[in-house]
Structure formats: C-alpha cells, structure tokens
Amino acid sequence: MRLIGRAHIEAVLRPAAPIVIALAAGGLILALLGRDPFAFYAQVVRRAITSQSGLQETLVLMAPLLLIAASLIVSFRAGLWNLGVDGQFLLAAVFVAAQAPGWVERMPYWVAVPALFLLAAAVGAIWSIVPALLRAYQGVNEIISTLMMTFLGLSTSALLVKTVFDDPDTAVPQTLVLPVAERLPRIADSLVHIGVPIAVIAILVVHYVMTRTSFGTRVGIVGHNPAAAHHFGLNVPRLTVGVLALSSALAGLAGAVEILGVRGVVRADWHPSYGLMVVPLVFLARFHGVVSILFVAFFAVLVIGGESASRRADLPNHFLLIMVALILLILALVERTAGRRAEAL
C-alpha cells in the first residue's frame, strides 16, 4: 500500500497557492492594524516548528485533533453530519478524568490505560445513540439532534464535574487530578506522549478501512447515494447507527488522549471547541486520511505559533480565528474554480 503517492502530493500542493494567498491577506490585515506581518509569521514558524518545545507542543495538540478528524471522516463519508463531536469529546474526557486516578492505582498501568480508552470510546458512542436511532429509523435530521446532544453534553459534563466527580479538596470544581507521573508515557525526553503516534495510527487505520475494506465501501455508497445503498441491499439503518457509534467513539478517544496525555484533570468551565475547527479541515482534505494529517498539522502550527505571535504583537488570541477562516474560505473558493475548470476540459 503506497502511503504517499503522487495523488497525495498533488492534493497537498493544490491548496498551496490559496494558502499563500490567505496568508498574504492575513498579513495585510496585520499591516492595517499596524503590526509587522513578517515578524508575525516568522514568530509563528519559530515558535511552532523550529523551537524544540514549540514543535513538541504542536505535535501534542495534534493528538486530539487527529482523532476528531478521524471521527469526522468516518461520519462525513457516510453523509452523516456528526456535529456532536464536541459533546462526545467532553463527556468522555470527564469520565476518563474522574476514573483515571482510581483505576491507575488499582490496576496495572498497561491494563488501566486501554481500559480508560475503552471507557472513553464507550461514553462517546453512547452519547450518539439517540441521534443515531432517530436518524436511522425515523429519518430525523442528525444536524439538529447531534447539536442538541452537544449542548446537553456540555451541561451534563459541567454538572458531573461539579457534583459526582468533584474533587472535594479543591475550591474550584474539578475532578481528581491524575498525577503527571501517571499520565501517558512520553517519547524520549519530550512533551510528546504516546497518544500522538496512537492518534496518527488511528487516522491512518480509519483511512485504510474507509478506502480498502468492504465496510468502507458500504459507507461510501451510503454517503454518495443512499437510494443506491437501499437498492444494492445494504442495511442502511444498521450502517447509520454503526457509523455514528464509531465516529463518536473516536471523538471520545480524543477526549481520553487529551486528559491522559496532557491535562490530567477537567475543570467545570473547560470546553475547547476542537470539533468546530476540524470540520472545515476535513472537508478541504476531501475526507482523505493522509491529507487530513497535513491539514491538521498546518492548523496546529498556526494555533501554537499564532498564540505566541499574537501575544508578541499585542493582539488577542482570537485573531487566529480570522486567519483560519480566511484560509478556509479562500481554499474553498479555489477548490471550486479548479474543479469547475477540470470538468469543462
């Protein structure tokens, strides 16, 4: 199996021009705000790629993002909009954060960690059952139901952290802290924990399954043409539930990786909205696993490096959102025009 083929290289180079355009546009905004764009981008690169600690942080950030990307690839390929990833992520993270300290103490480490991963996957999967069944057997649009489950998930998580899972010894509502020593082992002496390679392997496995197995083919048929899926004799309801379960399990794993690898604790007010940002990345990668890795890496560089660069330029962190959005929109535009031109030939 060729991992990096010509098509992959093309898929990466194709967005190169629009990325440059978007970066230029961002640079223009910076200039208008009276900041030096070159210094800004130089700092981004310096921090996220060339600096040791920065590069490690970038890689560490990629772990949950890649798993969420894998989750979205599975669901989007089936034509299902799993917009509940943030809720699935958070709820799984909370359960893992609450159980981890105890389990790690009571079981051998190499048993506890996989068990915690399984817990996260299960919690994530369970959180999509209602939207999955509603969609599979009642035809209810999953955008609404998964969005609702996200909101419910956020509230439920906060509730759990403040009550059942609360660490009574701390003033701020949060779970028991998993000591740093018990978190996922690091590679060499860096900050990069094994969750990172696990995430990379996961998304590669997902890509393989989606492109080279009968399950992946079935998912593709449902995603491209549900009427044909029915005609071909596929059990669409069962596939729907299965796909959403797998997708949300992966989102749950992302939560586990974030807790076990980095944070070790969940505070009641914590909810990163990784899902929202990964959705467009996965779209632009055309649901291709390997290409997604590259887009996610690019995004992670922008976040880590941009954080530092923004601080230096005395801009709020959220300036990055504009950058990301610009890139997405320009990429989408270029994709479309290129696609049109190819069709007309």
Binding site: I144, L147, S155, L321, L328, L329, R336
Partner: protein, 314 residues
Amino acid sequence: MSAVEALLSATFVTAFVSGAVTAAVPLLLVGLGEQISEKAGVLNLGLEGMMLVGAYCGFALALASGSFWGGFGAGMAGGAFVAALMALLCVRFALNQIVVGIGLTLAAQGATSLAHHIQFSSTFPRLPRQPELALPLLSDIPVLGESLFTQHPFAYLSAAAIVLLAWLYRYSNVGLNLAAAGEKPAALDLAGVSVVATRCWAVLATGAFAGAGGAYLANVGAGLFVPFMTNGAGFMGIVLAMLARGRPSWVLAGALVVGLSTSLTTAVQVAGFQVPTDVVQMIPFALIIIFLVAFGRSARLPEALGRPYERGAH
C-alpha cells in the same frame, strides 16, 4: 417567607417572565431569520457569526452615538454584511454551505474579538439601561402586564415581525418564490424567476434578522459586549428554525421555551433552591430531543435544502 411563597410573589414572577422575554427575543429574531433562508433552500451555518457581528456593531454604535435605534440599524447592517459574503460564496458560487457557514462563524468570532480588543482592550463599557415602553391597557394587567407588555420597543417590533412574515409566506408572491426555491428550484427557474436572486435576498434578510438579534442581545439583554457572547444562540436558532416547520409562530414557541428555561436558571437561584444551574440549562435541549423523538418523523425540511442550484443540472 417560604420558598414557594417567594416563587409565587409578584416581583418574582414579574422578573421571571420579563427575563424570559428578554432572553427569548434574540432567539426569536435569529430563528425567524434562519427560517427565511431555510425556506429558500439555504442551510445557513454562519448564523452565529452574523449574530455576533450584529451584536458588536450594534453595541459600538449605540455606545458612540447614544442611540439605541441607531444601534439596531448598525446591527442589522453588520449581520447583513456577513450574510452578503455567505450569499456570494454559497449561492452565487455554489460553495459548500457547511464549510462556508462555519468559516464565516469562525471569522466573525475572531474579528469581533479583535475589534473589541482594539477598541476597548480589556474594558467592558456598559450601555445605560434603555427605558421600556409600557403598552397602554395591556401593561395594567396584574403581574403579567408589567412583565410581558413592558418591554423595549424592539421586542414589540419582533412580535410584529412574526405576523408580517406569516402573512408574507401565505399571501404574497415573495412567499411563493421562497417556497419554490426551497422545494423545487427548477420550477421557479423555468417560471422565469431567478433562483439565485431569490436565495440571495433570503440570505441577506436572514443576516439582518440575526444582526438585529445580536444587537438586542448586547444592547438590551446584557448592556455590554463580550467576545463570543452569543454562546451558541445562533446554532440554537438553526435548530428552532428546523423544528418550526415553516411557521413563524412555532419559532416563537421554541424561543419562549428556551427563554423561560434561561430565566428559570436565575430565578431558581434567587429563590434559594439548590438546583444546579446546569440542570436547568439542560431543560430546553432535553425538551427538543423529546420533541424529536415524539414528532421527528413527520418533520419535513425543504427538499432542496443545502443543495446549490444550477440550471439544467437535473
């Protein structure tokens, strides 16, 4: 007095209902706006962004000029601006509506946050509280009158919008064109009406409504602007519109349910009950899920929703 007495006291109920209305109006506006887009076949995920931009523009102008009405105008213009981008990219250029919608929301979140930082850095200036308009006669009704019918004038306008839209949908050619654009755009095209133009106007109207909702949230609801202050209200509006089956009155019902539960959160705390706010916050979402389970099967979204139209492509 006991908790129950406190709950049923006039002041409490007044505050509770009043708070519910204040929370409901932005959702109503956003939901009504999204409904217009959806009827025309456009799934507008940039709603959250339109609302935020409207909130910021509305707040900034109201603060600078002291005019609340000017603030609403600015809010509507801001929302419409973002909507214009959406119309250009999704309707005219037929780009993927989900990618563009999320992209615009992210951009709006970043831009408003940046703008706030530039203009106010870390301060959060407040707007003076705008006097409310008490409707004659109606506001004299005990308890309810004071809360329900003593609102900022824009709230009444929003209520009027429900009636206007309902009339528009049923009795005007605009409504007919919207319905055709969402159900079977080819039919509209062949009848000689531009599908692209119809959808563009629909999206612009959505932006104006969302911007107004944002402006209301900032100026009347909170009295200030905080980055990311919409906090999912835009997505909630999308859900309300999807559930409302094309009827503006149903958007109102949904907005009130959510508004009531939001108000209930504060109310419960005031009354001294030990119910966690998170539980109360969950009520509207749980209700919607229950609604979906019970009635989801019969909900019909416009046939062409989310699909860009190209002549001759069928």
